[in-house]
């Protein structure tokens, strides 16, 4: 791309192909929020490009996986820059270290960049204003900037940013630009449609899977059918005879078939005769759960937090509630099956495809191929979902290896079965929760967890408000790979903790909303140890959702469940309503209140919340992965059941607590509480306490 060639000359006007102007700006580092540090000391960067017709292009630096940052990050720049949103264009930035952390994960893009992008936009705006003031020989204070124009207030003289660009880049970079007063925000907090929506609804090639290059071969790869098996003898005679197959390449533990079309590659791949040798343990899900249970019953576990003494409290209790919760292994199932384009020739590497971590991918490819990072480019298209799968770089690395061996540009395409059998799964887990109770008091809370690879990594809000609290956990060894899955840790722990809280409310005959508010009051007024959340914000979302749903006045035939959770910097509280249809619960409505600081794009933010709720209902209700002899049993949607329209809520009402604070995470926080809110509603409707996910088979 044109602007990639001008790395050294940001602060000068750079001629773009076609006569445009590249306007380079500085970007403060992410390590400091101290605006007084000389901005010019930082690495210059390129977020803004002005085209010959004055069209302004804003770069979206983080991968777009459906979380909306291709729209929301540029909104922040546009707001401070003072341009007309309708007249700007947005491009996804390629991998370039000057953009800082280019990761899609941990609900981090907006919260990591908000302050910096504002400052950057504001600095640019001031430079335009100063440029115009100098041209007109007036005071900058008498000029305003709006809709891509600088206007001299008294004379009403106007110059567009395009016209000012060459002058503006000679201006001194403001060390401490004045940010807009949020009262004057034009775009931030409003409803702005996704920048790609028109391309999406008209089927434009936006995704990695749509990559079509001259001379490109299509590849499919045969991988081990079970964890614990490795590649043995390969007979590719039949595969090579398949019409269109061009090449067969043996990799370390897999075999790639390259062909002139995806279908030919698939037929070739399926025609390989491969002997897979058992070289490791062939594991079963049933053994995982039996192992978890044993550890939870007999230990050992490692203590994560221990306030007061839960054992003494248990002795004092009139009842100890002691229950186990079970979480299955899950696959990611982003809708775009994995793929990657790679062209490795003459010591140079071009990579283009779906990844949430382009920088990590480049490092991994550099290491695998022994090629210097400077000779590797990574382009990141819009992605058909992420959910954590593409925090792993295997799909890109594999494509690079195939291309390098074939000396040809290739697109490696995964089938859904490939995807589901070669995932980094959300680990199976089991929890043991114990509560020491008297007739009307909760004396102690004791949570224990065992999961493949890891255990509990956090505390729920009862910690900090409980005198006797203990959290312990243990990892479980397995050769089934695990990874990050939307709202890792929180997505399962919230289900267990908030379902258990509901069980306690039932025992103590407490209202679930009122009882939680008691905890936030305790955490605020008389905290016990560290409080890892803000009780005031928790209270705010719980009260808001109670108000939205008119909590306490359930309509006839409607059953409700409540849950709340804090994760990735944000607070979400939810009320789920179910009705019974032929004795089976259907979610009709969900209310959700969110505290996430300032909302950037109201439409996108609501969409994330609504989507996380539907996603969470889906995974609470339907799918699970089962290992039998190391092999995944559910290899496609015919057995890995997924939510369809008829299972989705009819309506999801979302409200945000008004806030002037900097934005916090949004892609994940609404997912964790929903499984519990749903389970609690199902309990209200059916009297069944569902302590095992997924629910559907138990109803």
């Amino acid at each position: 791309m044109d602007f990639m060639n001008s790395r050294r000359n940001f602060l000068k006007v750079s001629a773009l192909t076609g006569g445009g102007i590249l306007f380079g700006l500085v970007f403060p580092s992410f390590e400091t929020n101290d605006a007084s540090t000389a901005l010019a000391d930082y690495m210059p960067n390129i977020y803004i490009k002005i085209k010959p017709d004055g069209k302004i292009v804003l770069m979206a630096p983080n991968p777009e996986i459906g979380q909306g940052v291709k729209t929301s990050l540029p909104i922040i720049i546009a707001e401070e820059l003072g341009v007309d949103w309708k007249k700007i264009e947005v491009e996804l930035a390629p991998l370039d270290n000057r953009y800082g952390r280019q990761t899609a994960g941990g609900s981090g893009a907006i919260r990591g960049r908000y302050a910096d992008l504002r400052k950057m936009g504001a600095a640019a705006r001031e430079m335009f204003v100063n440029a115009a003031a100098q041209i007109w020989s007036v005071s900058a204070a008498d000029c305003i900037a709006d809709d891509g124009m600088v206007i001299h207030k008294s004379s009403e003289k106007k110059l567009s940013y395009g016209e000012l660009a060459s002058k503006a880049v000679t201006m001194q970079i403001p060390a401490n630009p004045t940010l807009k007063d949020p009262k004057d925000f034009k775009y931030i907090g409003t409803r702005i449609t996704d920048v790609d929506v028109h391309s999406i609804v008209t089927g434009k090639p936006l995704f990695g899977i749509d990559t079509r290059r001259k001379g490109m071969l299509f590849a499919m790869i045969a991988r081990s059918p079970a964890y614990g098996k490795t590649l043995g003898n390969v007979d590719d005679t039949k595969a090579r005879k398949v019409n269109g197959v061009k090449n067969v390449i043996k990799l370390k533990n897999s075999v790639a078939v390259l062909a002139t079309s995806t279908w030919a590659a698939k037929k070739g791949r399926d025609a390989l005769v491969i002997q897979w040798n058992t070289t490791g343990k062939l594991e079963n899900s049933s053994d995982h759960f039996a192992g978890f249970k044993e550890i939870l019953e007999k230990g050992p576990t490692t203590v994560g937090r221990n306030d007061g003494d839960v054992e003494i409290a248990k002795q004092k209790a009139t009842k100890v509630l002691d229950v186990y919760y079970e979480i299955p292994t899950l696959s990611h199932c982003q809708m775009e099956p994995l793929n990657f384009f790679a062209d490795v020739r003459d010591g140079k590497v071009e990579l283009y495809g779906p990844t949430q971590v382009p920088d990590q991918l480049r490092n991994d490819v550099a290491e695998k191929l022994g090629i210097n990072k400077d000779n590797i480019t990574v382009g990141v298209p819009r992605q058909g979902g992420g959910f954590g799968r593409k925090l792993m770089t295997d799909n890109g690395v594999e494509a690079a290896l195939v291309s390098a061996a074939a000396q040809s540009p290739v697109q490696v395409q995964w089938t859904r079965e490939d995807d589901m059998q070669n995932d980094f799964y959300r680990p199976a887990e089991m929890y043991r929760y114990r509560a020491a109770l008297t007739a009307n008091e909760l004396l102690a809370w004791h949570q224990s967890a065992v999961g493949i690879g890891r255990g509990i990594r956090g505390d729920s809000y009862v910690a900090g408000a409980m005198v006797n609290y203990r959290s312990d956990s243990q990892g479980f060894n397995s050769n089934t790979p695990t990874g990050w899955w939307r709202a890792p840790g929180a997505c399962t722990m919230a289900y267990v903790a908030e379902s258990f809280f509901d069980e306690i409310c039932l025992e103590l005959k407490k209202d679930p909303v009122a009882f939680r508010l008691d905890f936030f009051k305790k955490a605020k007024d008389a905290p016990v140890g560290r409080v890892g959340y803000d009780p005031t914000k928790y209270k705010a979302v719980v009260e808001l959702v109670a108000k939205m749903s008119n909590w306490g006045t359930t309509p006839d035939g409607v059953y409700r469940g409540f849950a709340t959770w804090f994760s990735f910097g944000s607070y979400a509280a939810q009320v789920v309503e179910v009705k019974l249809e032929d004795g089976k619960p259907r979610v009709t409505k969900v209310y959700c209140a969110v505290y996430c600081g300032r909302v950037i794009n109201l439409s996108g933010a609501e969409n994330q919340i609504q989507g996380a709720i539907v996603d969470g209902i889906n995974h609470a209700m339907f799918p699970k992965v089962t290992f039998v002899d190391g092999a995944v049993q559910e290899t496609n949607f015919n057995t890995y059941n997924f939510l369809r329209m008829y299972d989705a809520p009819l309506d999801i009402e979302v409200k945000f607590v008004e806030s002037d604070e900097a934005p916090t995470g949004l892609g994940e926080p609404a997912l964790p509480p929903i499984a519990a809110a749903l389970g609690n509603a199902i309990f209200a409707a059916t009297g069944k306490r569902l302590r095992r996910l997924p629910f559907a088979g138990q109803l």
């Binding site: 777009e64 996986i65 459906g66 979380q67 909306g68 409803r191 449609t193 996704d194 790609d196 929506v197 028109h198 999406i200 609804v201 008209t202 089927g203 090639p205 936006l206 995704f207 899977i209 749509d210 079509r212 019409n243 269109g244 079309s261 995806t262 279908w263 199932c333 982003q334 809708m335 775009e336 099956p337 819009r382 058909g384 979902g385 992420g386 959910f387 089938t415 859904r416 079965e417 439409s603 996108g604 969409n607 994330q608 609504q610 989507g611 539907v614 996603d615 889906n618 496609n636 949607f637 015919n638 997924f642 939510l643 369809r644 329209m645 008829y646 989705a648 809520p649 009819l650 309506d651």
Partner: protein
């Protein structure tokens, strides 16, 4: 390999493909019409939905040799200028998140509206079974209602 001449988006296009090649891959690999998406390969997710003589065909399981003279409409041909009432409703309500499944959703919705110009919620439940992992179903439902309104007030 055999030659097929297919009616796609109002044009006759000729392709050379093995007879068992699913229409999906003929569209994507032979004709570079990549708006029709691959999601599961077994007619479960609906990402590959095209309009075949008015029916919402899941093109990943339809061999090219079985298409015959039937008329194929893909997302690229849903409207000339991207202004089908469904497309407009999708934009207006900002339906998509990642966007990957939406072309299939739109093609399923467009066949629904052909037979049922003003569908009820129940009819939408019955007709729209495409998978969306982002969870845009609530907005999809609203957008179908909005498009129906647009269609019926035209």
């Amino acid at each position: 390999m055999a030659k097929y001449s297919l009616s796609i988006n109002g044009k006759i296009m000729s392709v050379e493909a093995d007879d068992d090649t699913p229409l999906l891959w003929v569209l994507r690999d032979n004709l570079n019409l990549v708006g029709t998406k691959f999601g599961c390969g077994v007619a479960q997710c609906g990402a590959c939905t095209v309009d075949l003589d008015g029916e919402a065909l899941r093109s990943c399981v339809l061999p090219v040799s079985a298409v015959g003279k039937r008329k194929v409409v893909t997302i690229e041909g849903l409207s000339e200028d991207g202004d089908h009432p469904l497309q407009k409703a999708w934009e207006e309500l900002d339906v998509s998140q990642c966007g990957y499944c939406q072309s299939g959703q739109l093609m399923a919705a467009s066949t629904l509206l052909k037979s049922t110009p003003d569908p009820t919620d129940q009819q939408i439940d019955e007709a729209m079974t495409n998978i969306c992992r982002c969870g845009t179903q609530v907005r999809i439902r609203k957008a179908i209602h909005l498009a129906a309104k647009k269609l019926n007030t035209k």
